[in-house]
Amino acid sequence: MKSLYKHILIIGLVVIIAAGNVFAQKNKKKTTRISVEYVKDHNKTETLVAKLRVKEKRYISLNDAIVKFYSVSDTSVLLDKIRTNKDGEAIFVIGDNPKIFKDSLGFMAFEVEYDGSTSLKGSNKKIAVKQSNLEVSFFQKDTIKFIEVEANEIGGNNQTSPVKGLKVLFYVKGTFSLFNFAKEKTDNKGKIKIEFPVTMPGDTNGELTIVAKVEEDDIYGTVESMGEINWGIPVPLVKEKQRGLGDTDAPLWMVYTLITLLSAVWFHYLYVIFMIIKIKLAKRSF
């Protein structure tokens, strides 16, 4: 009896919770979250990457939604409306857009906004960045090889000045990801000099790509620069094995053995067939 009550209670609870869920889903809009990042890649292309996500059990990307990009000063100017891709990202290319406002210090302020829909809440985010340049170069002193990085910021009237104390990360570019080998801050001249990692393998010519990166800096955002140099340890192309057990062509001894054996047997078969023909031809001779 007692257990029956318990069961009824549990079933009742489940029904209530389920019903509650149904109503909740009808009435309550889902929360969205938008984030934005300024990225300057190694081609010096500046973009704003807005990422839109929806709260389900956890945050998941929302694709095919319209994100508005504004340039913000005293008033907001709409720059563009861009749809998010399958990763939930809307990418706005800054370029030389005259609508973008730059203040006397060189700061640009942006706002991204998602309006929401019948089932989703809207969200927005602001960001301010200062443009900068990062240059990678290589030089050799005696036998030691160096990588040098120079960081400059662009002021309000487009004049450049070195950035000091900027954190720069150094990577070697791999097939799938970047391998971090150093982290350094710029000196008073906006420069960093580090030793080249001589044990790093390159491609067949020893060529490898060094990436210097400022990552999500409060002022400069993400700035990336690349340089190629043939200082890596060359990885020789392994000659494909020929005529092995695992290859298309068989080892020669195997081919010869097989041909010898088969031809020996089949030769005798042919000889015997020839004899049968001779039997047929020899019918009259006594």
Binding site: S35, V36, E37, K51, V54, E56, I60, S61, L62, N63, D64, K86, D87, G88, F107, S117, T118, S119, L120, K125, K126, I127, A128, V172, G174, T175, F176, S177, L178, F179, N180, M200, P201, D203, T204, E215, E216, D218, I219, V235, L237, V238, E240, L245, G246, D247, T248
Partner: protein, 301 residues
């Protein structure tokens, strides 16, 4: 003035690859939801999302990702200059089985014949048990390739061992020859398959009855400079993937040098004495991230 940092994008790589899997299905699902009121009697399809949930989606809302897999003949040539390897850190595996699920999802496999198995290992009575994720080892001296009578399974210059299921005659000699039980056979007509896709040994889709299949290291992803699905699916970073020539492997969030990793953690290959020269390395289960917990009842390996 300054913006707050977004913590998620700190993990550069992770943010670029993981949500692809979750995002596609999740996004499609939501879009479908919003236009549901408009066309109520539209045809619906059920999809299995990467996290194992069934989502119902309007057929029209499904924007198919244009994908052009490499045809069988071209799939015989490896990606030049590469030699792919995998490293499995046994100390970090807690039998979460996310790799199995994402693999099943992307190869359109049913759970009864997965490419990846997570085995409960115990080397001897006194040693501690541990979980061992096992895929195809893509051996450099592959016993399966040696015995194939028609060259349907082959070794590529980039280290991959693939199967051309349009050539396979289904003799299963490769399965008998593989000491690691890496291969599965399509005993009956395969289920849940996207038959419209052109076949490629690089995707192993669609499967064909009477042919052999196995873990392929997702060469379609590798061609796009992305790691296989299982690597990014692992929540504990137990799986590393990379290029042996470049001496670097990544588990999605961190990139390390292969030689350093193997040296520091005493990496080994499973049953080295068989002479198969696998391309999957294991790091011994020492200083574990998780205490060993037995699998729940009824869970397949």
């Amino acid at each position: 003035m300054a913006n707050k940092k977004n913590k998620h994008s700190r993990r550069q790589f992770f943010s670029k690859t993981v949500p692809v899997a979750i995002g596609t299905i999740g996004g499609v699902g939501l879009v479908a939801q919003s236009c549901q009121q408009a066309n109520n009697d539209e045809e619906k399809i059920s999809l299995l999302s990467a996290d194992g949930q069934l989502v119902e989606v309007n057929k029209s809302a499904l924007t198919k990702v244009p994908y052009k897999p490499v045809p069988p003949d071209e799939a015989r040539k490896g990606i030049p200059g590469k030699h792919f390897v995998m490293v499995v850190d046994l100390a970090r595996c807690r039998n979460a089985r996310k790799c199995v699920k994402s693999c099943d999802h992307h190869h359109q496999l049913t759970p009864d014949r997965p490419f990846i198995k997570v085995l409960r290992m115990q080397d001897n009575k006194t040693s501690a048990p541990y979980w061992m994720p096992k895929k195809c080892f893509h051996c450099d001296n592959p016993p399966c390739v040696k015995v194939c009578p028609v060259g349907a399974t082959y070794k590529r210059s980039d280290g991959l061992v693939l199967i051309d299921n349009e050539r396979c005659i289904g003799c299963r000699f490769c399965m008998a020859a593989c000491p690691y039980s890496a291969r599965v056979f399509n005993w009956g007509e395969p289920k849940h398959q996207d038959g419209d896709r052109p076949y490629s040994p690089e995707t192993s889709i669609p499967s064909q009855v009477g042919t052999v299949e196995k873990c392929d290291f997702c060469p379609d992803m590798l061609r796009q400079n992305k790691v296989p699905h299982c690597i990014t699916a692992c929540p504990n970073g137990a799986l590393y993937f990379g290029d042996r020539n470049a001496d670097s492997v990544t588990n999605g969030s961190e990139t390390v040098r292969l030689s350093t990793l193997l040296k520091d953690k005493a990496g080994y290959r499973y049953h080295e004495e068989l002479g198969t020269e696998p391309n999957v390395y294991y790091l011994p289960p020492v200083d574990r991230s998780f205490p060993f917990k037995e699998a729940p009842e009824g869970q397949p390996s």
